[in-house]
């Protein structure tokens, strides 16, 4: 049951169990911030560092927000799936459902000044950083109202004001970029860290080790997060990596292995990693997670793994179900309320999709904007400056 606002702030001894006031559908997100301590599902495995404790502090408002945000992400990805099949989204579409806990848990542990950079599986990370679903769907459908004005597409979501640096198509290329972001943070003496996310496929890229070497050498506040969903497109982890202990691959860089389907474990690990990176330099986090969809929409996802495996993970380890069980067992909300929340989220997503479908497509002149930055807003058409037009303010 969601707590009514009146009683939430009165006393720290207020037990969530005692709430008996019915709430309207609009007051779903509890504002109670009394700490609840939950144990993570699994202990952390660590390399060269003392692991953090399994007991994570959270609160009912946080758990409800986890649930809602993850449900929103899940719904968005499923909507993107149907839009792709309806040919409104073209090209590549890499879906993140199943891995939502990583994005949500990370957000809960950091601020908007900390930077996140990730690969092409970036829709939910964008949402976690404060991006709107309308911008996301517009970008996926190539409209001007998209976050990159329709010119980036699924793999190029960016949000500069929230320190979200994308959205990169080439596997592993974001690793040096992420270390560059950490370098800039150190250079400008901000007390912030950069989370560079990459997958188990990218973990075999040379540039990752190059970047790791520099980050460790120069003590950069970089946290490298390997989202290990066990498949690099169609190649299973054991077929591509001699040593699949990705958290240990840093060798001289400490690492932590985390259950990536448990949002609270992710939150704890990211908090720990941020503190570590600010003091001692880089650290690797390996998030043991799973994606339900195939690598992208053109991959059915079942040629290299069995359907039983997918449904097995969905039954036992699904991140949303885990939070749902926590909420119900702590009596923060009833099952019906959570279902209502999911229905509301679904309506929201449908409305955003409908609105995005109505959005305008880019003008032909947009082809040439944002190639070069020039003073006075001049645009150059073609490399030979044939029709250079300088518009003075």
């Amino acid at each position: 049951m969601a707590l009514s606002r009146l009683s939430s702030r009165s006393t720290t001894l207020f037990q969530p169990l005692a709430a008996a006031f019915p709430t309207t559908l609009r007051r779903h997100i509890s504002t109670d911030t009394t700490p609840i301590t939950v144990e993570t599902s699994l202990p952390f495995t660590s390399h060269l560092v003392e692991p953090p404790s399994r007991a994570v502090e959270t609160s009912s408002s946080e758990l409800l927000s986890f649930f809602r945000d993850m449900a929103l992400m899940r719904r968005m990805e499923i909507a993107a799936d149907s839009l792709y099949k309806a040919k409104l989204i073209r090209g590549f579409c890499h879906l993140y459902d199943g891995q939502e806990a990583v994005a949500i848990g990370m957000e809960a542990a950091i601020t908007r000044r900390d930077a996140i950079i990730t690969s092409y599986r970036d829709h939910c990370t964008f949402l976690g950083r404060g991006g709107g679903i309308f911008e996301a769907f517009s970008e996926l459908m190539g409209r001007t109202t998209g976050c990159s004005k329709g010119k980036g597409g699924s793999m190029h979501f960016y949000k500069k004001d929230a320190s979200f640096y994308g959205g990169h198509g080439i596997v592993g290329a974001q690793a040096p970029l992420g270390c560059g972001l950490a370098f800039a943070q150190k250079y400008s003496k901000e007390e912030a860290v950069t989370f560079t996310l990459y997958g188990d496929g990218a973990a075999n890229q040379g540039q990752l080790f190059e970047a790791l070497n520099i980050a460790a050498l120069w003590d950069l506040p970089a946290v490298l997060v390997c989202e290990n969903n066990h498949y690099g497109m169609g190649t299973a982890e054991w077929r591509s990596a001699k040593s699949p202990a990705y958290f240990k691959r840093g060798d001289y860089v400490p690492g932590l292995k985390v259950d990536g389907m448990d949002a609270l474990a992710v939150k704890q690990a990211c908090k720990f990693a941020k503190e570590h990176a600010l003091k001692n330099g880089p650290i690797i986090l390996e998030m043991d997670t799973y994606r339900y969809h195939g690598h992208s929409m053109s991959d059915p996802g079942s040629t290299y793994r069995t359907r039983d495996e997918i449904s097995g993970v969905r039954q036992v380890r699904d991140p949303i179900d885990r939070v749902r069980k926590l909420i119900i067992s702590h009596d923060i909300a009833t099952e019906k309320e959570l279902k209502d929340m999911e229905k509301e989220v679904r309506k929201e997503v449908d409305a955003a999709v409908a609105q995005a479908k109505e959005s305008p497509i880019p003008e032909p002149s947009d082809l040439f904007t944002n190639i070069y930055v020039k003073g006075f807003g001049s645009e150059s058409f073609g490399a030979d400056r044939k029709e250079l037009r300088a518009t003075l303010p």
Binding site: A115, I117, G146, C147, S148, K149, G150, K151, G152, G153, H156, Y158, K159, K160, Y165, G166, G167, H168, G169, I170, A173, A175, P176, L177, G178, C179, G180, L181, F183, A184, Q185, K186, Y187, S188, G206, Q207, E210, A211, N213, I214, L217, W218, T369, N370, I371, Y372, V373, K374, G375, F376, S378, S380, A383, D384, R385, K386, L388, A390, L392, P393
Partner: protein, 405 residues
């Protein structure tokens, strides 16, 4: 801060179309550095015309720098209180001035710091600015180029040095996909104000892998600008302009030009990144060149003058985008074009320049555009063979005679 720049190469065309100003964004308020008088001086070579008509003044709310007048600057470049230095020192001076001016500028590369730079371009900078601003990287071009680009996304202005331009092939993915494209794919959210610089070109028997000319590989990457410096004057000017530009700029230097000596002005100046330089005005034929070949062309020009020809030599400087305005005006005057470059024959800068000239100025040509480039071979070690790979002055003379028949 605003800069007044006039195109050194625009001297022949006196119409005042095509204004461009490189607005130097002063992103930090460094106390005590509010107004610098920036003078754009003309080329100090044989240009005898005044550059007065192509002064571009800043029109809007930024303050006009009243003292910076091109005609006066022309004099100061040749007679006044300049100082003489070598090309690598000019690059260093430009870099140092920009690092003084803007604390966001940092240098990263192999051996740029404590060693002083493999060509001494960054000598002394590490002592002055410290290890955080002049960074010695390990040997991983892909990673440190990517790091420079990542840092640039947040607002820093790294100058990334490739010890030899050929090594940048290892960073090609970062340069092409991230450096060039991020401004576009993010819908304008991020700018990547990096400068990627380093020596390239054929040296003295350095071997095939260390004599590469990568201008041709980078020229089709959308979103980057490429410039090639050839004299101490334009080296310093282009370095400064490249650092101040919000776009990623690749600055091509040449291994054999680092010890050129010239007198450059004491005042601060920038060279426009998109403009070509008029080296020697003439009437009979337009010779387009850049980097080291400029000197071969000028050597050939001496012979040609003795033989009675009057070549117009233009150092195109801007390899991407081409300064078709200056080039076009020259073609309209002379009706004959010879391109002399060090790039490879196939797919080189000359090849695309030929295409661009044919496409745009076909009606003005009296003869087909001729392009002299290096042979399509890996550069051999043997001295004589290496000489034959590259264009020599005698070949330039023959080509001009052939074209001017």
């Amino acid at each position: 801060m605003s800069a007044i720049i006039h195109g050194a190469g625009a001297a022949t065309a006196l119409s005042t179309f095509n204004f461009k100003t490189l607005v130097a964004p002063c992103r930090t308020n460094i106390p005590g550095r509010s107004k610098r008088c920036i003078v754009a001086a003309g080329s100090d070579d044989d240009a005898s015309k005044s550059f007065g008509s192509s002064i571009l003044t800043v029109r809007h709310s930024q303050k006009l720098i009243a003292n910076a007048v091109a005609t006066k600057a022309d004099m100061s470049a040749t007679t006044g209180t300049g100082h003489e230095l070598l090309l690598f020192e000019a690059l260093q001076e430009g870099l140092e001035e920009e690092m003084d001016r803007d604390p966001h500028v940092c240098v990263m590369g192999e051996d740029v710091g404590h060693y002083g730079g493999s060509y001494k371009v960054t000598k002394g900078l590490a002592d002055k600015f410290g290890d955080l601003r002049v960074l010695d990287t390990p040997i991983c071009e892909n990673a440190f180029t990517g790091m420079g680009i990542g840092a640039a996304m947040t607002g820093l202005r790294p100058v990334i040095e490739g010890m030899n331009m050929g090594f940048l092939l290892l960073a090609f993915n970062q340069i092409s996909n991230n450096c060039g494209m991020l401004h576009y794919t993010s819908g304008g959210q991020f700018t990547i104000p990096v400068v990627i610089r380093g020596p390239g070109g054929v040296g003295r028997q350095l071997g095939a892998e260390h004599s590469q000319r990568l201008e041709s590989y980078f020229q089709s990457i959308p979103g980057i600008q490429m410039v090639a410096c050839s004299t101490p004057y334009n080296a310093k000017g282009l370095m400064k302009a490249a650092i101040r530009s919000e776009n990623p700029v690749i600055l091509f230097e040449h291994v054999l030009l680092y010890n050129l000596k010239e007198k450059i002005p004491d005042e601060e100046y920038i060279c426009n990144l998109e403009e070509a330089e008029m080296v020697r005005p003439g009437e009979h034929i337009t010779i387009l060149t850049y980097s080291r070949m400029r000197y071969h062309v000028m050597q050939a020009a001496k012979t040609l003058v003795n033989k009675g020809y009057d070549p117009e030599v233009i150092d195109i400087r801007s390899l991407k985008p081409f300064d078709l305005y200056t080039i076009g005006n020259s073609v309209k005057k002379t009706h004959r074009v010879l391109i002399v470059e060090e790039c490879m024959r196939t797919g080189g800068i000359g090849a695309s320049l030929t295409a661009a000239i044919n496409e745009n100025f076909h009606d003005y040509l009296d003869a087909p555009v001729m392009c002299l480039s290096s042979q399509d071979v890996p550069t051999p070690y043997a001295g004589t063979l290496e000489e034959w790979t590259v264009v020599q002055p005698a070949q330039i003379v023959t080509a001009v005679e052939q074209l001017c028949q």
